[in-house]
Symmetry: C2
Subunit: 480 residues, 2 copies
C-alpha cells in the first residue's frame, strides 16, 4: 500500500489508471521475473471467492475436482495438429532435470487437454464410465511476447479448466451450454459484469475444438474482454487419443468432449468495469471485506464508548455472515483510513463519531456513490444488509447500461470504421459468413468478430465488407 492514492483519472488515461489502481490498492505487484505477476492478498482473496462460488455450482452438478501433472511431453501436445499449432509458439519448455538434459522436452501446461485425455483413454471402457466430469484449479503458462499487464496478460496465470467426456453429441452440447450459463451467472450475479454470449467463428475458436462458445464483456475504453469460454471438442481429441467406449449396443464409439475455463483475468475485468478515480470498487458478493468500521475519536469525546459501539456493530454484522473489519489502528487518522479503504474498494464504510454516539446512530458511506446516510443503531445491521444488496444491484445496472451504450449497429463498412475509431465498443454488423471478410476487417481495423450471438437477428444489410448476401448479424470489437 502506498501512502498516496490514485493520481491518474480513469477517463483521462485508462491504461495508466488501471496499472496504478492494481498496484496501489495492493491487488497485485510485478514479479522480479519478466512478464510474471504476484497475486497479493486482496486479489487472491477475490480469486478464493470466485473459486468458492464456482466450485459450489459445478459440484452441485456432479463435477469433481482433480489435479493432473503440469508437465506435458512434446509428443502429446503434437498429437492434435491444430491444437499444437495453436499453442506451441507460446510454450515454456523444461529441458533439464538437475544436471541432466531430459530425453524428451516437457511443456509447462498451456492448457491440459492432451495430458488429461491421454488418461481418459485409459479410464473409459464402457458407457457406465460416462459421463466423466472433472475440473482442476491450477497455474498455466503461456510465454507471451506481447506487452504484459497484470491479470490481463501475464506469462503465468491461474485458472480452472473443466474436461468432460460424454456418450453423445447431445450430452456434450448440453454440458457446453450448462457451463456457459453457470459462467454467465457468476459474471453477472456475482462480479456484476454483464456479458454477451454466443459462438466464436472458426477463425477465433479454440485450437482443436468443434465449436467455442464465449462470454464477452466491454471495458470502459471500448475494448472487449473475453471473460470465459466453453468448448465442444467434438470427437477430435477422442480420435487422436483413442478414447472409446463400449455402448449399450455393445459397439465401440468415440466419446464427445468439452472443455471450459475462466481465469484470474476476471479480476482485471472487475477492476476496469467498477473502479473509479479513487481506486477499486468491489461488488459486495465477491468482496473479501464487505464492511469496514472506522471509529472517529474526537478530543474530549468518549472514545471508549465509541469503540464499544464499534465492536458491538462488528459483532452483529459478523453474526449475520457479513465480513467486517474494525479499523482500530491508532497510528492513522480517520481521513487516512477512508482513503485506504476506498482505494481497496470495500463496499460500505461505517463511521461512528461523537455525534453518531449521541444520536444513537451510525453513518454509512457507500463506496460506489460516496453517498452517506445516518441510520439508527438498532437498524444498522438490517440497513447494511439492504445496502450491500443495493450496491450489488446498482453496480450491475450501471455496467449493464454502459454495455448497452457501447453496442452500435452499423449498416456499412464506412460507418463500421468510423464507429470503431470514434467510440469503440461492440459493433453489430451483417456478415456473409466467410473467413476472408473477417480476416480483411481484422487486418484493416484490428477488430475481430467477438461472437455470433445465440439470439439470431436477420441481417439488416448485405455483408458490410464484400457486399455479398449476409447470413447473420455478428459482434465485432477490438479486444484485450
Amino acid at each position: 500500500m502506498s501512502d498516496i492514492g490514485v493520481t491518474v483519472k480513469k477517463n483521462e488515461n485508462f491504461s495508466e489508471w488501471y496499472t496504478e489502481v492494481v498496484l496501489k490498492s495492493g491487488l497485485a505487484d510485478y514479479a522480479p521475473i519478466k512478464g510474471c505477476m504476484i497475486f497479493r492478498e486482496l486479489s487472491y482473496a477475490i480469486w478464493e471467492k470466485i473459486q468458492e462460488i464456482f466450485n459450489k455450482k459445478i459440484k452441485a452438478t456432479g463435477h469433481k475436482n482433480v489435479y493432473f501433472p503440469m508437465f506435458i511431453p512434446e509428443s502429446f501436445l503434437k498429437k492434435e495438429a491444430e491444437h499444437f499449432a495453436g499453442f506451441v509458439p507460446e510454450v515454456a519448455w523444461v529441458t533439464q532435470g538437475g544436471d541432466s538434459p531430459l530425453e524428451e522436452k516437457l511443456a509447462v501446461r498451456p492448457t491440459s487437454e492432451t495430458i488429461i485425455y491421454a488418461t481418459y483413454a485409459k479410464w473409459i471402457r464402457s458407457w457406465r464410465d460416462l459421463p466423466i466430469k472433472l475440473n482442476q484449479w491450477c497455474n498455466i503458462v503461456r510465454w507471451e511476447t506481447k506487452a504484459t499487464k497484470p491479470f490481463l496478460r501475464t506469462r503465468e496465470f491461474l485458472w480452472q479448466e473443466g474436461h468432460t467426456a460424454h456418450a453423445t453429441k447431445e450430452d456434450s452440447d448440453k454440458e457446453v451450454m450448462d457451463i456457459l450459463n453457470e459462467y454467465r451467472d457468476l459474471m453477472e450475479s456475482y462480479l456484476a459484469i454483464p456479458v454477451l454470449v454466443g459462438v466464436k467463428t472458426d477463425n477465433e475458436k479454440f485450437a482443436g475444438a468443434l465449436y467455442t462458445t464465449t462470454l464477452e464483456a466491454i471495458m470502459p475504453d471500448g475494448k472487449a474482454l473475453q471473460m470465459g469460454t466453453s468448448h465442444n471438442l467434438g470427437q477430435n481429441f477422442a480420435k487422436v487419443f483413442d478414447i472409446k467406449y463400449i455402448g449399450e449396443d455393445e459397439k465401440e464409439h468415440y466419446v464427445w468432449q468439452t472443455s471450459w475455463g475462466i481465469s484470474t483475468r476476471l479480476i482485471g475485468a472487475l477492476v476496469m468495469v467498477h473502479g473509479d478515480d479513487k481506486g477499486l470498487v468491489i461488488p459486495p458478493k465477491v468482496a473479501p471485506i464487505q464492511v469496514v468500521i472506522v471509529p472517529i475519536p474526537y478530543k474530549g469525546a468518549d472514545s471508549a464508548a465509541i469503540m464499544a459501539k464499534a465492536k458491538e456493530v462488528r459483532e452483529k454484522l459478523v453474526e449475520k455472515g457479513i465480513t467486517t473489519i474494525l479499523d482500530d489502528r491508532e497510528e492513522y487518522t480517520p481521513g487516512w483510513k477512508f482513503n485506504e479503504w476506498e482505494l481497496k474498494g470495500v463496499p460500505i464504510r461505517v463511521e461512528i463519531g461523537p455525534r453518531d454516539l449521541k444520536q444513537e446512530q451510525v453513518t454509512l458511506a457507500r463506496r460506489d456513490t460516496y453517498q452517506k446516510t445516518a441510520v439508527k443503531l438498532d437498524d444498522a445491521v438490517h440497513a447494511i444488509e439492504k445496502l450491500l444488496e443495493e450496491i450489488q444491484n446498482s453496480l450491475y445496472a450501471k455496467a449493464k447500461a454502459a454495455l448497452a451504450e457501447k453496442i452500435t449497429t452499423v449498416s456499412s463498412y464506412n460507418e463500421f470504421q468510423w464507429t470503431l475509431e470514434a467510440k469503440g465498443g461492440f459493433i453489430k454488423a451483417a456478415w456473409c459468413g466467410h473467413s476472408r471478410c473477417e480476416e480483411k476487417i481484422k487486418e484493416e481495423t484490428g477488430a475481430t468478430i467477438r461472437l455470433r450471438p445465440f439470439e439470431k437477428e436477420p441481417p439488416i444489410t448485405d455483408c458490410i465488407y464484400c457486399g455479398a448476401k449476409a447470413v447473420e448479424m455478428v459482434y465485432f470489437a477490438r479486444s484485450y
Copy 2:
C-alpha cells in the same frame, strides 16, 4: 475403480499393499510422465478438506493467502549458498520460451523462499509493515532420481508454504511454534495420526534455516514419515536479500523469518496408518463422504418403501452437515457396493433392507471395525453423529497405541542395530551432539536422527556410537 478389491495383505507386503490401495480406491493414478502422478477426485477432495481446515486456522491468526510466480531465476536461487546447494540437484529447469532460448534459465520452484524474499525486500520499510504473514497453496517440483511412489515421493506435488517476517527473534520463534502446534492439531485431531515433535539436527535441517522443527509419524512398516516442518530462518535470507526495516528506534534492522509447509504427502500417511486389507479407512473429519446409504432391495419386498426411507435418512443427515450419499445404482448388487465403499474408506455404511424396514430401524456398519449395529430410525441421525465421533477417536487411539509400541529405548549401539533390524520404528538413544556420530550411524544403518524432542530427558547412557558424554536422548529411525 477396478472391479477387483485389494489382493495383497497389509502385513504381508506393505509396499505392494500401499500401491494397490492407492490405485484401486481411485485415490490416484500414475501419470503418463515418469515420476508424476494424478490426484484423482478422492485424494483431491481430501486435500480440499486439509486446505479448508488449515486455511481456517491460519486466517484466524492473521495469515493471508497469496500466489507468487512459479519460476525462479537461477541467480535468485544462488543467493543463499546453503539453500542453493540443498535444492539445485533436483531442480527442473525451463530453458526455452516458444522458439527462443531464455537468457537466464528458470527453476520451476522447488520451494519459494528466494522469490518471495526478493519481494519482501521491496515491501518492507518500517516496523509498521511487520509482521508479514503470507501463505500460498501451490505445486512444487523436485526432480527426484530415486524410485517414486504416489503421495510420498513424486516429481510434482502440492503443498502450502508459509513465509513470515518479524521484527524480533522472539516473534519468529513464537510463529514457528504456533504453526507447529496448528500442524499437530491438524494431524492428530483431524487426520488421526499422532506425531512426535522436536527439532532437527543441523545435518537434517532445512537448507538455509537457523533451525527446523518437525512433526514425525511412524508408519506400520516401522519407517518414520516427516509430516511437516516449521523453520526459523533467522536472518540468513534477510541478509542475502537485504530485507531491512526501520525500527521504532529509527535504526535499520534485518527481519527475522520463518517458513513452514505441509504437502499432499499427508494423504500417503493417512493411507498407510489407517488402511486395512480391504482398502482405505478415512477418518470422519477429513472424509469427503462420511456416510453411504445402501438400500437392500429384496424380491417381493417393498423396495419403493425402502428407497423412501433411505432418502429420508439422507435428508436428515445432510441437514446436520454430514456428507452423505445414497447409492441407488441399479446395475450393481448391494455386495458389490459394500466392497466398493469399503475400498474407498467411507467411515459409515447405512443399510436399509426389508427387515430393517419392518422393524423401523437401519443397520450401521463401521468401516474401521466392521462392527454392525441396528438402531431405531428415530435415533439414526444421533447414533450416526456419535458413531462418527467414536470412529475418529478410535482411529486416533489405535494409531497412538501403534506409535507407543514402535518407540524403543536402547542403551547400546548393538541394541540399536538389533532393534532397527528386528522391529524398526523410533529408537530413542543417547547422543553426544556431534554430527560425526550421526553421519556414521546413518552410513552404517540407514537410520537418521528424526528429531531432538522438545521434552528433554536426561541421557540414560553415554553416546551410543562414540561413548563420549551424551547431551540428550534423540529419536532415530529409517524414514521415507
